[in-house]
């Protein structure tokens, strides 16, 4: 065996980096095809009711129009599919912005103009779009995302709350948040007989292939989905989206390749988003900070079309030990677009509430916020009693505390009265499940010491492609320069979506196995299927943990909050690529900062849509909002995860950040923000 420097762990620049920085990387809407036509969706302008007529004939007479699709005038698709994708199946409108027609034309300008001119008639009904705790359309879902019980109960939380010496009982709210990847969802579809090829912007080429095959009643291998470069997703491209279906329908009807590129405004209705949440946190504790009870109740919304239940109370089931615990989720079925995954669904909004409540408890107790968490560090997973494969939250807290100078901060909130500007420091814990999902991969010996590895993974900016290259090179025992890694093609076989932070772990295990098999057994190629390996995994509690620290500077005259420094320390197993891992966490924390300070989906109760449906009105963090962010890793060698020892890091960065910000604001001003985002006026109002 040759002694090679290990590729895994090194900070390799991205394999596709030169292509991306020179504008040569092609995304889904950038493949020139002969006779390409353009599809422009038409969206419902009522929030609830029915489409009574679409003037198809007039639409088809407009210049450049090749076809107009609508209910009753579009190919039938299988009933055995997600309602959001069964476009034009009926005349029911479930939310404002729902696609009710598609115009296909020879040029982009003509498609757009014709879509704007298409006459659609509706019968409108009264709609309900505002989430409340006592909504008449509220119900208890059977399960919450991905597949957990909606309610849990251990011991008697009510009794603990009645008898404990110190309690916290608070409501926290987060608004609707929109993923808004920089690349709007785009698909280009072309039929060749009964074969369908789609260039799609997706987090999972293989699942999209399966979905499209099902929708169009095709054998799966008649469909190919290619997604080499994806301009971000953050969950919104985690399943097939209407753009893929519309492009396929348009191409079917016109007999030409059709591209459907959603506009930025359309994303606010058509690709999922994070539901708003109302969360009640109850904590009961002894005077020494030992938790006696944890209660977390969540109210969220779903659409009338499909159920999605965000599991915001999930982290309260396992973060801290307590003998009494109760969690619940209730959904209101509103006339709104269907919520779906947005970076760290469940953990992200849930930890905002939990970590804020823990901070409030620390204040009630007169106890250091970090010590409170350490005091309640569980020995086994409180949710199921299983041992943890590795849990280094305490190390993260202590390391971060040192880095930011935690113990130099003033003990009392609002103590820093230096005139107009107040500074403060806050802390919050971070967590995300570490899952590995079955995947397949193929390793090919090209001869001459060169290899190709194929896996239907997705690199949506995570650096997965590069990480997998490093895994492959090490498993093959060759330098990275001798391996050609290919991702983003459903023809490469089953692979899970880039989601749940399980990409590198899942695909990496498959790549590792295929490469080892090739190296050990020889031959021209080797395949792997990790389903059995994963099935045989020991039953353990597997999570990545982190600690986030934030320094804020509040202008008490204007209420504006600036964040001069953030520190994130993460214990996330083996880090495959030091360069891209740091970038992932910088990105997650930046999105968490954005969540705390800016992001606010404003529901318009009169019209039923998100009123601020563009990037000028829905604010995401800009460059000037971000100052210094320090990232550190706590080394973890965990043999119980997967052969690579990898936990995911794509989502943990956003978990806890918002609470660290609001906790810092409390420290700076004495004002507790329980209602995101921190608009300047909320700080000024509370200051009186």
């Amino acid at each position: 065996m040759t002694t090679l420097e290990r590729a895994v762990g090194a900070g390799l620049t991205r394999v596709e980096g030169a292509a991306k920085v020179s504008g040569r990387a092609r995304y889904a809407g950038e493949f020139p095809l002969d006779r390409l036509a353009y599809g422009w969706p038409v969206q419902a302008t009522i929030a609830r009711g029915r489409v009574t007529a679409v003037d198809i004939a007039a639409g088809e007479r407009l210049p450049g129009v090749l076809a107009v699709l609508a209910h009753g005038h579009a190919p039938q698709m299988s009933a055995d599919a997600e309602p959001e994708l069964r476009l034009f199946a009926d005349d029911v409108v479930h939310y404002r912005g729902q696609v009710v027609a598609l115009v296909v034309a020879s040029t982009l300008e003509q498609a757009r103009a014709a879509a704007d001119a298409l006459v659609v008639s509706y019968f409108a009904e009264e709609h309900e779009v505002e989430l409340t705790r006592d909504h008449s359309r509220q119900y208890a879902p059977d399960t919450v995302n991905p597949n957990m019980p909606a309610d849990t109960a251990d011991g008697d939380l009510d009794a603990a709350m009645r008898t404990a010496p110190v309690t916290v009982d608070r409501i926290y709210r987060t608004p609707a948040e929109h993923n808004n990847p920089m690349e709007p969802h785009t698909s280009t579809a072309a039929w060749d007989g009964d074969h369908l090829l789609v260039h799609d912007s997706t987090q999972g080429a293989y699942p999209v292939r399966q979905t499209l095959a099902q929708l169009f009643d095709l054998p799966p291998d008649a469909v190919r989905v290619v997604s080499e470069h994806v301009g971000g997703g953050f969950g919104s491209k985690g399943t097939a989206r209407p753009n893929a279906v519309l492009a396929a329908l348009g191409a079917r009807v016109t007999g030409r390749p059709v591209r459907v590129a959603l506009s930025r405004q359309m994303l606010f209705a058509l690709v999922g988003y994070r539901t708003p949440t109302i969360q009640r946190m109850r904590l009961a504790a002894d005077r020494d900070g030992t938790l006696l009870g944890v209660g977390h109740d969540v109210w969220a919304q779903t659409s009338t079309m499909q159920e999605f239940a965000e599991q915001a109370a999930a982290p309260s089931r396992m973060m801290y030990s307590a003998p009494n615990r109760a969690t619940s989720h209730r959904l209101a079925r509103l006339d709104v677009p269907t919520p779906r995954w947005m970076r760290a669904p469940g953990e992200c909004p849930g930890m905002y509430a939990l970590e804020s409540a823990m901070d409030e408890l620390a204040v009630e107790l007169g106890m250091d916020s970090i010590e409170l968490r350490i005091r309640n560090e569980p020995a086994v997973d409180p949710e199921n009693g299983l041992p943890c494969s590795s849990r280094n939250l305490v190390a993260c807290l202590r390391t971060g505390a040192r880095m930011i100078g935690w113990y130099r901060r003033d003990g009392l909130p609002a103590a820093r009265r230096s005139g107009r500007f107040r500074t403060g420091t806050g802390v919050a814990a971070s967590v995300y499940p570490a899952r590995t999902s079955p995947s397949t991969a193929r390793a090919i010996d090209l001869g001459g010491g060169r290899f190709r590895v194929e896996v239907a993974a997705a690199d949506i900016g995570t650096g997965a492609r590069t990480a997998l290259l490093q895994v492959a090179a090490d498993a093959l025992g060759v330098p990275t320069g001798q391996v050609d890694i290919r991702v983003g093609d459903s023809d490469f076989g089953q692979a899970p979506v880039a989601g749940g932070s399980m990409g590198t772990a899942s695909w990496g295990t498959a790549v590792h196995q295929a490469c080892r098999r090739l190296r050990d057994e020889g031959g021209s190629e080797a395949r792997s299927d990790t389903a059995e390996t994963i099935e045989r995994q020991r039953e353990l509690s597997r999570y990545a943990f982190g600690a986030q620290f934030v320094q804020v500077r509040v202008d008490t005259v204007t209420g504006e909050v600036r964040v001069p420094r953030m520190v994130g320390v993460f214990a996330a197993g083996r880090i495959v690529n030091a360069l891209t891992a740091r970038s992932q966490l910088l990105g997650g924390m930046t999105m968490g900062l954005s969540m705390a300070l800016h992001e606010d989906g404003v529901i318009d109760t009169e019209f039923g849509d998100y009123s601020n449906h563009d990037l000028a009105q829905y604010h995401v963090a800009v460059n000037a909002d971000v100052q210094r962010i320090d990232i550190a890793f706590v080394d973890e060698a965990d043999d119980e995860l997967n052969p690579l020892g990898v936990k995911g890091i794509g989502e943990i960065g956003i978990v806890g950040t918002a609470a660290a910000v609001t906790n810092a604001v409390y420290h700076a001003t004495g004002i507790r923000v329980r209602d995101l985002p921190i608009h300047p006026e909320r700080l000024r109002e509370a200051a009186g």
Partner: protein, 219 residues
């Protein structure tokens, strides 16, 4: 209650009128090439670059000048190409990301972004890089930003001119670019992946004069 309206229009809005495209000839100078085209007057420079010239490096992030992903250089000035009508470009020189450099001949700004990992999904990246190149030129010409003049400035007379560092004099009018200056000047380029920290580092490196890399990943 029944309502009826055009695709996007509210109740009973005006007739669309004749939607037959109106076209015009244009000659576009893009990177090293000259292109004679007939374009729909509605076509933006961005759409002509992407759909007609297969220069897909410039990206459509919002199509309304709100994200900067479409940034190109027009006579060396950074602009949002999604708001520039192709017919209105006229004789001005268009430089796109492809014109700055290719994968085997990277422009120093492209190389800095690559080595500092100033990108993740890469979709905002061409716009970031074109914007950064344009921005450095603006700073070199002494253009201030919102963070350059921080203090209440006077109108002249015995108080003297409003203070800003680095300006004035015939030698070097350039504004020194610290991280705060770079961040402010680059705020017209959104990055949802949150690569801002490394974007600023990459630009800082080029602004300092294509010196040594920053030292790689910082623990």
């Amino acid at each position: 209650m029944t309502t009826s309206g055009r695709g996007r229009a509210a109740n009973g809005s005006d007739e669309p009128g004749d939607l037959t495209p109106i076209t015009a000839p244009v000659t576009l100078h893009v990177n090293a090439g000259e292109h004679r085209l007939t374009v729909d007057t509605r076509s933006t420079l961005l759409d002509v670059l992407r759909e007609r010239l297969d220069l897909t490096g410039s990206k459509k992030g919002c199509d309304h000048g709100q994200c900067g992903a479409c940034t190109v250089l027009l006579d060396g000035r950074r602009v949002n190409s999604c708001l520039v009508l192709a017919v209105a470009v006229r004789g001005r020189a268009v430089t796109t990301i492809e014109g700055l450099g290719g994968p085997d001949s990277l422009h120093p700004m492209q190389r800095a972004f690559l080595e500092e990992d100033g990108f993740q999904c890469g979709y905002c990246t061409p716009g970031q890089i074109c914007s950064a190149v344009g921005m450095l030129d603006e700073a070199a010409r002494g253009w201030p930003s919102a963070v350059t003049d921080q203090h209440g400035s006077s109108s002249g007379g015995d108080e003297g001119a409003g203070g800003d560092e680095g300006a004035g004099g015939d030698e070097d009018p350039g504004i020194p670019l610290d991280r705060a200056e770079i961040a402010e000047r680059m705020s017209g380029n959104l990055c949802r992946c949150g690569a801002y920290v490394n974007i600023v580092t990459a630009i800082e490196r080029v602004a300092r004069g294509a010196g040594s890399p920053s030292g790689g990943p910082v623990p």
